[in-house]
Symmetry: C2
Subunit: 275 residues, 2 copies
């Protein structure tokens, strides 16, 4: 699961919202019941279009605009097709243990392939609805701009984009000059597989293919590494990684501002110091 705001601190101009650095992503093993099975048992009417997941989490935004209408619960909807997909779970175990409280005990959604905001924690209620749900967290928050007939229209954030992230070196890390150094990290691509990760140690001028570690597991991240010999000359350096997925999607170099404050998948520069 990756938060759609992962990496927000890198955005220019600065955005409102939690100023995530690189840590708002992880991979766990989930166990649960497919939402599809519950919908099947409950019986879904032919005019249903969406499934709303409501969590016990609640709160109020007073500032900045737009405000919430008082205290509201956290809720997100899924189009019926995604709600019925096998990768959407009502999970009660994480890594072989009952869900810990902060991960959504006793039961949460895990909407694999989508950003984390869809995986509603502390599930309280599931509503099947015949109309589009335009709740606070899929209009004012967690939306991007799409173009329809040349006109911008907001769309809820959904699928995780292809992305490689550098775990080491960390931003502003000091590394010794003229020595072997293992650059490594993770890459993921929503419901696709990671086909390739490339690394640049010169701020994006040249790229080398990194080594992918282990076997691909759909919806999980995949580790990669690159053995680097650090430069003889001391000074600042910029490390980058970019991924390509099995559908040929390449991680973009530039930020797309239509993504507002979310879906931060462009290549992020990691500034380090060689000494």
């Amino acid at each position: 699961l990756e938060c759609s705001g992962n990496g927000r601190v890198f955005l220019e101009p600065p955005q409102v919202g939690i100023r995530w650095e690189l840590g708002a992503v992880g991979t766990a093993e989930w166990k649960g019941v497919p939402l599809a099975a519950v919908l099947e048992r409950a019986g879904v009417k032919p005019n249903a279009v969406e499934v709303i997941l409501e969590g016990a989490d609640k709160g109020e935004f007073k500032e900045p605009n737009p405000r919430t209408p008082g205290v509201i619960p956290y809720a997100r909807s899924l189009p019926l097709a995604k709600a019925k997909a096998p990768e959407v779970l009502l999970a009660y175990e994480m890594n072989g243990e009952p869900l810990p409280p902060r991960h959504g005990h006793p039961v949460r959604a895990v909407v694999a392939g989508w950003y984390g905001m869809a995986s509603v924690k502390w599930l309280k209620r599931i509503v099947v609805t015949d109309r589009t749900f335009d709740g606070y967290f899929q209009t004012f928050m967690y939306t991007t701009w799409d173009s329809r007939h040349g006109l911008p229209t907001i769309v809820p954030v959904t699928e995780i984009q292809v992305k490689a992230q550098v775990a080491r070196p960390a931003p502003y890390e000091v590394v010794p000059k003229g020595e072997p150094y293992r650059i490594y990290g993770a890459a993921w691509a929503g419901g696709s597989d990671v086909a390739k990760v490339e690394v640049s140690t010169d701020g994006g001028q040249s790229w080398t293919v990194a080594k992918l570690i282990g076997e691909p597991v759909t919806y999980a991240w995949r580790f990669w590494e690159h053995e680097w010999r650090t430069p003889e000359r001391a000074g600042p350096h910029v490390i980058m990684a970019r991924a390509t997925d099995s559908r040929g999607r390449v991680q973009p170099m530039e930020r797309d501002h239509d993504r507002r404050d979310a879906v931060i998948s462009h290549v992020l520069p990691i500034e380090i110091e060689v000494r």
Copy 2:
């Protein structure tokens, strides 16, 4: 036509947006072609759901959040049923003259019965679409909160609510004590007729039925008057008017905060000074 922000200056707490007092409403005689006739000639496919009206007006909101995605045109959509209704015109004359520039020359929409934001001026393009259009002016602006299954969801502002407005006395007007005084104003109710206007000269404690003037004209305002004898005792007074429409809808006394910064139809107090 009434702006959905008419009376915004009266809202507590103060809202972002043009701080309209009472003047953002008017009635004119429009001449044009029904949008339905144009759609009929063009041919609308069976999967159409909305009609987007795009104006030549454009601009950018940088602050406050949420921003527009750069410079965007003003555009609003109508559900197909309203777009095909006979009261929706592509107007080219106002009060017997070609549209003046500031009223949308050479052609504008007049969406009778709906607040003014739907009546797009300086029409440039009409798009029939098979998906919901969630443009800036019907998500971030000009929306109210509706409740679906106990969860707030935003809905675009549409129908004009029943409302009586006091034209005279004006707010903070000084009126002489112990004399006849004609309180008057206008009332309107979207596509319904105004059935009754009541006036209070004691801050809402007691109400008297006002006299409706002329004949009802659907979608136009109707004037009303009330002959008042001003009090012998000098001091501040609060004048109010409230309307009831032919469907039995009564203008509410209290503001509904789910209406955000729009659809200001509750009874507004006009503070005056008797001297």
